[in-house]
Structure formats: C-alpha cells, structure tokens
Symmetry: C2
Subunit: 358 residues, 2 copies
C-alpha cells in the first residue's frame, strides 16, 4: 500500500502555534483523533509534543510527530518570518498538504504568517486573484460566512466576485446549505447603493450569477449579518475586519454590562443562577471555538487559520473542518467555477457589466 | 424688541417627519418646551398640529405654528423631493435657521432629504468639503461619536481629516469632553494598517493634529468603538453605515436571544422578573432615544436628523441637542479650525504628508 494509491487521511497541525500551545493544541488533536477517527500529524518540537501526549491516553490513535525546532512567533513580521524560517512548524504542516501527505493544515499561530505561508506553499487556484479569509458569524438561526475577513484591504470588483463564488461553495459543502444566499455588503439594499467598488461589484455579480450558479440576492446591510438574512456576505478585507472586531467588541461589552447587573445584588445573583443554564445556550452560540477556525479560500488545498486564543475544542473543530474542506473538494470546485468565467461570451458579458457601471 | 437685536431662542421642528408623526413629534416639542424652557416652531399642517396640541396642557409654553401643506414622504427620492417641494415642512424649518429666526432645525423625516435640504438651505461652512453625519454610540462608560455615519460613501483623505476636526469640536462642546480622543478606524492599530484611503488620512491627521489642536491617538479597530477607547471614531460613510447597522442588528439579535431564554420556562420568567429593573439600565444605555438624533456637521447652522422611529423622548432630546449645538458655537469653531489649515506653511506640510504616503 503506497502513498500514491491511497488518499491521505491525516490533517497536519502546527502544534506550536497559538497562545495556548502546546497543551491545548495537542489536547485538541487527541480529541479529534478519538472523536472523528482521523489521523493528525503533530508538527513541532518532538520532546515538547511527547511530554504533552504523555498526559493523554492515545492508545490506538494515529498521531505521528513531524519534528522541527523552528517556530514562527506571534509578534514576528509575517512575510519576513516565512522567508527566514523555512522549517517553521506551520510551513512544514502546509508542505504535507502540498505533497499530498495531509488533507489540510491547521495553525493557531501568527495568522499573517499562516496566510503568507499558505499562499507561498500551496499557491493560488488558477483564476483566483486574491485568496480570502471566510469568517463564520453566528446568526439568529445558523451561521453566515463573511468573506473577506481581513486578507485584502484594497479590493477590485473582480475580487469581490471571486469571494462570492468561494464563499458560496464553502457554505454549500461545509455547512450543507443548498444554493446559499449571497449578499453584497453595502450601505443600503438598493442596487444604486454602495461606494464605487461595491456598485461595480454589484453589476459584475448580477451579470455572472447565472454562469457561476450563484444565488446572488443583491445588496445587504450590516444588520443582515446577525439576523441571518443571507448565508454569505461579500465585502473587502478592510470592511470585513471592522465587522469582525466590532462584533467581538460589541458582544463582549453587552454581555459584560448584563453580567454586571446580574451580580450587582444578592437577589440578582440568585435569579441569575436560575437563568444560567439557559443563558449558557446563548453564550455557546457566540463561541468562536464551535467553528474551529477560518478557511483561507482560493489556495490549492485546505488551510485553516485558528484564533490565537484557541482552546482544545477550537483545535478539534478546526481539524474537522480542514478535513471536510479537502474531502468535499472545495478547492477543485472553486477552480471549476472560475474557469466558466473565461469563455469568450462570458468575458464580453463581464466587460459590458463593468462599462455599464462606469 | 426686534428679531435683529435679540438672539433667537427657538428651535424649528418638522412636525410632519417620522413614522410616529405628528403625535410623538408634537408631544416631544411640548416636553422640550416645558423641561428646558425653550421655544419650538412647529412646522407643518396647522389643523393637524392644533389637534395634537389640544391633547396637551400647553399653558405658558412658546410653541408657535408655521403652516405648510407640503410634506416630503419617507420613500421619496431625496434630491428630487427637495427640488420639487420648496415649501416642505423640513425645508421651512431649515429656513428659520438660515434666516436667524431659529437656533436649529430637527426632522425625523426622510433623512436623505433632510441632508440635501440642510446642505441646500444652510450651505457648507467655508473649508468643509463634505458635511458628515456624527452618530452617537453608547460605550461601556460613556458615548463615542462615529463620523461619517453615512452621508459620504466615497471619501478622500482630506474629508476624513475634516471629519476628525468636526467630531472633536462636537464632542467637546456637546458632551463636555476636554480634548476628545480621536481614532481613525482601521483593520489594525499599527500606522501601516488600513486601505490606501486610511493610510493617507493617517499621515494627514498626524501632520495636522498640532495645528488643529486635535488629540489624534492613531488607528483604532472595530472593537474600540463599544469599549470606549476613544471619543471620536473617524471613517468614511460607507464603513460608518455598516458599523451603525451592524451594531443595531447585533444588539437586537443578542438581546432577542437572551429574552427568549428568559421566558422559555415558568421558573426562568420568575427569575427574569427579579432582574428586570437592573437589566433595564442596560437597555436604557442602548436606547437611541437618549441621544435624540444625529447632527449634520459642516453646514452653516445646527441641523439634527432624528431616527425615523423617533418617539417623543427622542424628539425632546433632539431639540435640546439642536439648541446646544447652536449655543456652543459648533459651526463657528469648525470654520475657525479649518481656516488654520490654509496658511502657506500648513498647506506645504499637508502636501508633504500626502506625498509621503504615496
């Protein structure tokens, strides 16, 4: 049984990445191996990994170690670090994907470096101008993918068009939503709303939705993200980052104010104790760890960037998502979708849409 | 006693504007007249206003009516409506300000039309390229002004520089914050972060902060709005609108989820009843009505745009803010501040900052 005839069944984990590494990363890998019956390459300092593994019962689990001494630290300059540390744990993890030994790679380390290393190691899918981060936001009844969440600050309308396709494929395959509803983030629902970039992207998306098989519902507003009006929200990485950070800050501040009142008096504390199990359901909905990590979409392979503060549960879920992203063929579907934009008729239609909007 | 020697002591209210007009607008005016001892011009259909006034005790209150039959509806095209309906209630209200008969104007009607009418009637302050909306966001311990909240979708760096000055003057004079902390909204705190527009604006603000007397603290992230890191957050109107709508949607969704759990069982309902008075304090902090309305900064006069859903309390507070904006000389201070940018040395410094960032 050689590697060339058997598809890899492991995901590569950068054990050294994240504020809670290596304890939580190793613990997450052990949980994923047990719960999902998957293999995990543990990439990092062997003696450190062995010490952590010793704390768990790993009988029968597929957890091979790939040793390296190099680690990219959280505060290093991403591009410089990736260039200098060729054997860094996150880079070796990505190389397993490139070489077909792993289905996907996960890191909770320096996210800028993980993005740069993914791009450098896995390369872009043909037709993709800019890979993008797809962040999962909990909504009233489910989840919404906001793409781009911070990889590209200045975007051309064509990038947003590609983000829409990548996001739609991801939500369809990972969240099992058929024909995901796609909205373009703007300052009003009317087609005429938006800055110039968004107005142009709207025309492009409208013209190509049929060809790309996209369920483009038009412009949406900020309030439509938490209410779950759509499954995919398309925006540039500058706006996406503001959306992410504002949501985190607002939820924290609001829950903090409520918690303050709930513990302000003895009687309030008693009442709060009664409500705690129910409220926990709400807090669980808001827990990023449930979603594991953020996919970098548009690279040739499955790369998941986990939150720096990831705990074992977040790592476990990220490993699962990395495997699913590979097994459901997200990258291949993106390549296939974008190839449809290259026919002569389609190119002409796109150009008309662009001139129409100028 | 002629109008030319006595400063006007009234604010003009578009009684017909808003989803809850005229009942709530008239009620808000009556409350403002009584609580603040101010006069209010009630602009709109006389018989409608008289019918509403009859429901209140208005003894001794200064509530003169300015009659007009024309009203701009919520769904009319702003620019067209302003051009066509020259005697619309919101336009007559603004004309009182222009003519020195009123300190300020308030409308909860068609906000696009109110913006266009304010610009058309009051004109821009010399040195202001684009008037902007300053939205008040409740924070952990106070309030933060986000400017621009939606008036200008595509902004040049100089516009953002002017927004910073206008926002700072407003927070200093209306919220009594000395030397307000000003942040530029970006996707990271480092000076190198941001899209090109923000990077350029950062250089401009840094170079001119001394001259303008601004306490510019640099870039801030979305999370710094609710936590109250700064008193003024500068962004373009596209991003500002996303921030506003996302905040509204998120707070509503989150509080809805919590409310759902609190009423899910009989025991939970009892516990929630105990907590209600304390939680009400939190909800009050989030109530837009407390802040009354959004000033359009950069026009020659005090114009307040209130939420379409304004109740009497919101109108009352908007009338107070309109008066304060005039009495504290916000428009004059903006003109004076911007004139400082016109000295030959300052113009050169600005140009250097701009070339530096290219």
């Amino acid at each position: 049984m050689s590697a060339s005839v058997t598809a890899p069944v492991r995901v590569a984990l950068d054990v050294m990445g994240g504020d809670n590494a290596p304890a939580e990363t190793v613990s997450g890998a052990v949980q994923a191996a047990r719960e999902y019956g998957m293999g995990v390459y543990l990439v990092g300092r062997e003696e450190v990994i062995r010490a952590e593994l010793a704390k768990h019962d790993t009988t029968g689990l597929d957890l091979p170690i790939i040793h390296t001494d190099e680690v990219i630290e959280m505060d290093e300059h991403p591009a410089n670090a990736v260039r200098r540390k060729k054997n860094a744990s996150m880079i070796l993890a990505l190389q397993q994907v490139r070489d077909g030994a792993a289905l996907g790679a996960v890191s909770a380390g320096n996210s800028g470096a993980m993005m740069a290393a993914s791009l450098f190691t896995l390369k872009r899918i043909p037709g993709v101008d800019r890979p993008a981060l797809g962040g999962i936001f909990p909504t009233k009844e489910g989840a919404c993918l906001v793409i781009d969440m911070g990889a590209n600050t200045d975007c051309k309308p064509e990038y947003l068009q590609q983000f829409a396709l990548m996001g739609s494929i991801y939500m369809e395959r990972i969240f099992k939503i058929s024909s995901p509803r796609i909205g373009l983030l703007a300052n009003g629902e009317e087609e005429s709303k938006g800055n110039q970039q968004v107005i142009d992207a709207h025309h492009l998306l409208k013209a190509s939705a049929g060809t790309l098989g996209l369920n483009f519902v038009g412009n949406v507003e900020g309030r439509d993200i938490p209410t779950g009006e759509v499954n995919v929200v398309v925006c540039d990485g500058f706006v996406g980052n503001v959306v992410l950070k504002l949501s985190e800050g607002l939820a924290e501040t609001l829950l903090g104010l409520i918690r303050e009142q709930m513990t302000s008096t003895f009687v309030n504390k008693l009442a709060a104790a009664v409500l705690r199990p129910s409220l926990r359901k709400v807090f669980k909905r808001l827990d990023y760890a449930e979603y594991g990590g953020v996919p970098l979409l548009g690279v040739n392979g499955s790369a998941i960037i986990s939150h720096g503060r990831s705990n074992a549960k977040a790592i476990k879920n990220a490993l699962r998502v990395a495997r699913q992203t590979a097994e459901t063929g997200v990258a291949g579907a993106i390549a296939e979708g974008l190839s449809k934009l290259n026919s002569p008729e389609e190119v002409e239609k796109q150009q008309q849409a662009q001139s129409h909007s100028n």
